[in-house]
């Protein structure tokens, strides 16, 4: 297994007048070729900012990015030149975003926007790019690809637009696809179609996938390994089956217990995690989850727990486990 993406002690903060927002506070992660990593967390967990930092899409003021290691395909992302990064984006690694309704430029046709990365990264001519674009649209199961090529984004539904985004992202056959909540804004039956599409494309192209979501069901369906983020830190990582069968971290356990499931017994009261997600401008001291954790004690409130590594690739940050 070749390691494709490696990040060690990634930290991202945003300068604000009221104080810096510590969005990501020391995250280690890695993705191997062809692997599917899930990053699950709620709002304020830092999961989206992590993905933007990996792609180099954060504006550098106000964002400040630091990392001990940040490499992709043996390229040092922290030190690489703008040209190298531009070349990488869209070709080596690509991203699909959450809101299909606002992700496309409204004044250019779908075909025009699809052709851009093809012409830029692969040096195709306009005609070649259009042919390839039509093929891509067909692959993402859009009916009438030729017609859609000449359409404007506002003529397509949310599900269609998201498929266009996916087609655009995989057009140059990137080795890594980062999907940030790709189906959150879609209806559940469309979500199922799009997730299936992403999984198929991943297999076909041997692509690695980073799936960012708040939905544990999506994690269960689409990932091999999972990192659970909370308050800017990774609380637990494990293989997907291990995580669900035997969660170690109190937050993971609480999260799993509080999900309203359609196959659950409604007579049983749902476990509700008290409190609310931490504010990045003023994160809690010590373990970020301690104010809401049933097992927390004085040590949890003052010291950030170190990483406990257990066999089989599992990690968890909790004083209770060491």
């Amino acid at each position: 297994m070749t390691r494709l993406l490696e990040a060690e002690d990634l930290r991202v903060s945003f300068r604000h007048k009221e104080g810096d927002a510590l969005a990501v506070r020391g995250v280690d992660l890695h993705v191997d070729e062809g692997e599917s990593l899930g990053i699950v967390g709620e709002s304020g967990s830092g999961k989206s900012v992590t993905s933007l930092a990996l792609m180099g899409l954060l504006q550098s003021p106000p964002a400040e990015i630091r990392a001990d290691v940040l490499t992709y395909d043996r390229i040092d992302l922290a030190r690489a030149s703008k040209r190298v990064l531009q070349d990488l984006r869209g070709k080596g690694m690509a991203m699909v975003f959450q809101e299909p309704m606002t992700s496309l430029d409204p004044v250019f046709t779908v075909g025009n926007q699809l052709a851009e990365p093809l012409m830029l990264h692969l040096g195709m001519s306009k005609r070649q790019a259009n042919t390839r674009s039509a093929e891509l649209l067909a692959r993402v199961e859009i009916p009438d690809p030729a017609g859609v090529l000449g359409s404007y984004p506002h003529q397509l539904s949310g599900g269609m637009r998201q498929r266009v985004m996916i087609a655009m992202a995989i057009s140059c056959k990137p080795k890594l696809l980062i999907a940030d909540e790709p189906t959150t804004a879609l209806d559940v039956t469309i979500q199922a179609q799009v997730l299936e599409l992403i999984k198929d494309l991943q297999k076909e192209n041997g692509m690695a996938l980073v799936m960012i979501t708040h939905d544990m069901g999506v994690i269960a369906e689409t990932t091999d390994r999972v990192a659970v983020m909370y308050g800017g830190l990774i609380m637990e990582t494990a293989g997907v089956r291990d995580l669900f069968a035997n969660p170690l971290h109190p937050y993971t356990k609480a999260l799993l217990a509080s999900i309203p499931r359609p196959d659950a017994d409604p007579a049983k009261r749902l476990y509700a995690i008290p409190g609310a997600s931490p504010n990045p401008v003023n994160p809690p001291s010590g373990c970020p989850f301690h104010p809401r954790c049933e097992l927390s004690d004085a040590r949890c409130a003052s010291d950030l727990p170190g990483k406990t590594i257990t066999g089989g690739n599992r990690m968890a940050r909790c004083w209770r486990l060491s």
């Binding site: 709620e42 709002s43 199961e141 539904s157 599900g159 269609m160 209806d187 559940v188 039956t189 469309i190 979500q191 199922a192 179609q193 997730l195 299936e196 708040h214 939905d215 544990m216 069901g217 999506v218 994690i219 269960a220 369906e221 689409t222 997907v240 089956r241 669900f244 069968a245 609480a254 999260l255 799993l256 509080s258 999900i259 309203p260 499931r261 359609p262 196959d263 659950a264 409604p266 009261r269 749902l270 476990y271 509700a272 995690i273 008290p274 609310a276 997600s277």
Partner: protein, 327 residues
């Protein structure tokens, strides 16, 4: 069962006119196209479906935020559809609504105490001093004890704001709550808080509730009965446990199959449907689900399948319903 609310053939058509006035192009959007159901005492009815199915519009019609194009809404025998505004006021006290967006449903310029007390202001109840006391009681009821009354919405998290919205909805001591996607804009860990809160309040006060949502997991925990809508019409209706255990309508089935379950080891046989819902498919004399339906057969394109009774309290608008179990 006494029906607190009885809806019959409710319709809401949105008509838009464009083009020059001598040759207008009229487009009709049939957002709600003949919906009927009953809501019993102390019962929670879940109104489910995907975007565009008309569930939110139906909720708005019930409280007369929108006026129906046709059909009847009976509140304990009184016809609400077509009732003039001034007569609605006393009835409005009995039916209150909770909205989806906790960031938009509270006036940012009002303190929380003022927000909760506003209904009393509108209906002329309680003196100033009493209002303060009662407002604090209501806020405490939803878990916001202490001096929350003086705070402003922007100081609260989404979950807390939704609690305030719930408190406000209880100010007039209603009989019926209509909750329009109250948890959809909330974090996963907070959804459970609001679900539990709604359940507690409903049980304690003996409220009837209509719970509109696209999230079937949430609906499962809150509803006694469920109505499944698609493109403005009712596809299936029945007890929550029956529908989740054995969905009969192929759309309900597809809806349940599509939900990704947080359980990687579970293998279930899932039917996938293709395509998207489009109002163009909602023809007057055919089943709206026809273009995407795996069960389609003769007769589906020539009539609107009637709601047929398939079991006690379980009705389904399909000529070829499913029979297998779901979960």
């Amino acid at each position: 069962m006494n029906a607190v609310l009885s809806v019959r053939e409710l319709k809401k058509y949105f008509i838009s006119r464009s083009g020059p006035f001598w040759k207008p192009k009229i487009r009709t959007v049939k957002a709600v196209d003949g919906v009927s159901f009953d809501l019993g005492e102390n019962e929670t009815l879940g109104l489910v479906g995907e975007s565009g199915c008309g569930k939110s519009t139906t909720g708005s019609l019930l409280v007369r935020l929108l006026d129906p194009t046709s059909g009847s809404i009976l509140y304990r025998g009184t016809e609400l559809a077509g009732m003039p505004e001034n007569e609605l006021a006393p009835i409005r006290k009995k039916m209150q609504m909770i909205f989806q967006d906790p960031y938009a449903s509270l006036d940012p310029m009002m303190t929380l105490g003022a927000v909760v007390a506003e209904p009393w202001d509108i209906h002329g109840l309680y003196g100033t001093k009493e209002r303060r006391v009662e407002a604090e009681k209501l806020l405490a009821l939803v878990g916001l004890e202490g001096d929350y009354a003086k705070r402003y919405p922007h100081e609260l998290s989404g979950g807390q704001r939704q609690r305030v919205a719930i408190a406000r909805s209880l100010a007039l001591d209603p009989e019926i709550l209509i909750a329009d996607e109250p948890t959809s804009a909330l974090d996963v860990s907070v959804k459970a808080q609001i679900i539990n809160l709604l359940r507690d309040i409903r049980d304690r006060r003996g409220l009837s509730m209509i719970f509109v949502s696209h999230d079937l997991g949430v609906v499962r925990h809150v509803s006694d009965r469920i109505v499944v809508m698609y493109l403005g019409r009712v596809m299936e209706e029945g007890l929550s446990k029956d529908i989740f255990a054995r969905p009969r309508h192929p759309y309900t089935r597809a809806l349940l199959d599509a939900i990704p379950l947080p359980d990687p080891s579970r293998i279930r046989e899932r039917k996938r449907i293709r395509g998207e819902a489009s109002l163009k498919d909602a023809l007057a004399d055919a089943c709206p689900f026809l273009p995407r339906c795996p069960n389609k057969g003769a007769g589906c394109d020539s009539q609107r399948p009637p709601l047929a009774e398939l079991g006690p309290g379980h009705r389904c608008a399909c000529l070829y319903p499913d029979t297998k179990e779901a979960f």
